[in-house]
Symmetry: C2
Subunit: 425 residues, 2 copies
């Protein structure tokens, strides 16, 4: 191999057909009749795809290690091994009725980057590393994204190892069962920067005909539980003005939440996802309703403003309708801004490749959002059909996957070949 400068690699492209073939080859591990994947973390099928990934990485000359939570790290040497590796990847586990792209694209595009560099005989300054994070999905073990969270220091390895699935099996037992309890200390693998390629899992890029989303960060999220207490009464004998109808109060509140989100357009969202009448009956005025509320925005100040407006709406509705509207915040996660230099590298790569692109914020959680607390991080989004994900019908085009892999390739070349003082660890 010979060292090459960024200027000499800017025409390099990933092999989109090879990437597409690996996506479909590995989809057989846990493949479902409907064309999706059922590959819960640390299942036998997850073990199979991990073995396939390890073998493919080793065949590409990478050195594969595994940490105590099963996360796989595949290292490609750089010219300056004193520099921390530029890492990229995502996850190979899926939802029980997951699709072929969520997580998988980021890992296999990472492998494709390595193969492309090998084929071109290119050596980077900093080493490169493709990573397969354990249990991003959270379907079998909670919390989701637990390995990247432990890497970032949010949990100890022992806390995670003791988590149990619905059958009572611990993470430790599940790792041992498939031989993936590795010897690298969790958090011990140094990473200089992290880039995650992922399908958008939303409709924006498709709707705007953009191929690449340059992800600036992850949204902040606040979750609330709500309860409305009015009075159950006879649907035939209770005049309208005398009613204390909890469902009508919920209706006003849900519409108020929509309006409050639109007041902070285009970034804010608000969702009443669950709502249930207690003891519902066709001929009884609903007296009690329980509901949930999910609000998100990339700015903490906007979350604060929305929360204040929501409480004001609840109080106004309750007073006017002579009932109580309770709203309790049960969780809040602050927005995660990605690293400006890594984001700029993604944007420059997309620009040089000539792909239609836009800045975007991740609406869903990703391992990258955890990594960002410790490592300069960004993400690359590509469109998925109708914004559908976590579904066997999840779909992305070969061209968009190849475009994402090209942007990933060019981004990591920029980062790995940049002067050594950056990015800061």
């Amino acid at each position: 191999m010979s060292q090459t400068s960024p200027s000499s690699t800017h025409n390099l492209r990933a092999d989109g057909a090879r990437l597409w073939a690996t996506i479909h080859e590995t989809a057989a591990f846990g493949g479902t009749p409907n064309g999706g994947i059922n590959r819960l973390t640390l299942s036998a099928e997850d073990g199979q795809v991990r073995d396939w990934f390890r073998d493919a990485c080793e065949a590409a000359g990478l050195a594969v290690s595994v940490d105590a939570l099963g996360t796989q790290y595949a290292l490609r040497r750089g010219r300056d091994m004193s520099r921390p590796p530029v890492a990229f990847g995502s996850h190979l586990d899926t939802q029980p009725t997951g699709g072929k792209f969520d997580g998988v694209l980021g890992v296999l595009a990472g492998l494709e980057v390595m193969r492309t560099l090998n084929d071109a005989g290119i050596e980077t300054e900093a080493p490169l590393m493709v990573v397969n994070w354990t249990n991003e999905e959270g379907s079998r073990f909670a919390p989701a994204m637990m390995a990247s969270a432990a890497y970032a220091g949010d949990f100890t390895a022992d806390e995670i190892l003791a988590k149990r699935d619905a059958a009572g099996v611990t993470v430790a037992e599940a790792l041992d069962a498939i031989g993936y309890r590795g010897d690298v200390a969790v958090g011990g693998q140094t990473i200089g920067a992290f880039v995650e390629l992922h399908i958008e899992q939303g409709p924006i890029l498709e709707a705007e005909a953009k191929t690449i989303g340059v992800v600036e960060g992850g949204q902040g999220i606040a979750w609330f539980d709500g309860a409305i207490t009015g009075f159950e009464s006879h649907a035939g004998t209770t005049p309208m003005p005398r009613r204390r109808d909890a469902l009508l109060a919920l209706s006003e509140f849900a519409l108020a939440a929509e309006r409050i989100a639109l007041d902070h357009a285009p970034s804010a969202v608000a969702t009443v996802g669950e709502a249930a009448i207690l003891a519902p009956s066709r001929n009884v005025v609903p007296g009690r309703v329980a509901f949930t509320l999910d609000i998100r925005d990339p700015r903490s100040a906007t979350l604060d403003a929305m929360e204040a407006a929501l409480h004001a709406a609840a109080a106004e509705i309750g007073a006017r309708r002579n009932l109580t509207v309770e709203l309790a915040r049960i969780w809040r996660k602050e927005p995660v801004p990605f690293d400006a230099r890594v984001v700029a590298a993604v944007e420059a790569a997309a620009e040089n490749l000539g792909h239609p692109r836009r800045r975007i914020v991740s609406g869903a959680g990703h391992d990258a959002c955890n990594l960002a607390a410790r490592v300069p991080t960004a993400m690359i989004f590509v469109p998925c059909k109708d914004g559908v994900s976590h579904n066997e019908s999840e779909s992305a085009t070969q061209g968009d996957c190849a475009a994402g892999a090209d942007v990933l390739l060019q981004t990591v070349l920029r980062l790995a070949n940049a002067p050594a003082e950056a990015p800061p660890a």
Copy 2:
């Protein structure tokens, strides 16, 4: 006994204390620890209260007969036995967690009317009859009010006898088990007029400090099943303008139904009593909602106008939010106007007794609403606390019960002593 004219009986009053005592004595049959009654129709407890009622009627010199559906008729002879009896009563069955007044008041006040006339030695022109209708509540066997419906010709006796409860027991078997399958043909008992005293089961009289409701008729009712089909999507990644949120559509529809009812104030009511998100999740935009709608008004034309407005609202919401709002009417019962002459008799009785009163429409269904199709009928309402009924906490005052019994007494005297050509049979 001596025959007396209405003018000589206008100072006659029922014995409110005796009525109150019988209400509490019979409340022991199926009495609950919380002060309510669990006396499902044709249960052992219903058999006990029927026996008590038969014995009390016979002790008052009444001739008790039972029809093939178990309805009890207790006849007090009149001077002119060629006239059909003026009948009054209600039902002695209760909801599983029913109160002490629903139905019971009407039957026991009827008994009190008989006892009062006996004590005063008064003979009426037409005979009188107190009736205990089988299965008004419908909790054990559907439909509710089945005996009065069969009396009115809506069902044959055999249709009703074959109905089964949740345990598979037929009405015929349940009647036999307590010895109440009588020999009078259903509908064979001629009735000249019918008056039912009942608690309002609504809040209007209490709120307006009226003692007596002069009931003009029963409301018309229409029931609908509704379904909203939008699209489930990710609560974090789907921008507000791109959502097809079924819960927000339901919210707008429920508020539209409220507004449409208020457009026909004060009589109309509209209630979304059941509403459920299909596959609800805290972080998923609701894609599908099922709901019910109940609308009522005393005028058919108003029901028509409301239904048209509701369909228009559903179409407008569906088009604007890019989803479908389906609304299917599953049942409609036309309004039941009561007999003007019987209503006038109730009103005159209340007026002469000096009770604060108002015309009112029954929001709930009653045996009287079935009888009205065949027999000149009206009802008398008295207040109940907070409008609560079908609940162990159901409550009415001794004074209001006594006032209701007085109005019932004076009404039936007016009807029974009126010239024989009226009311028409």
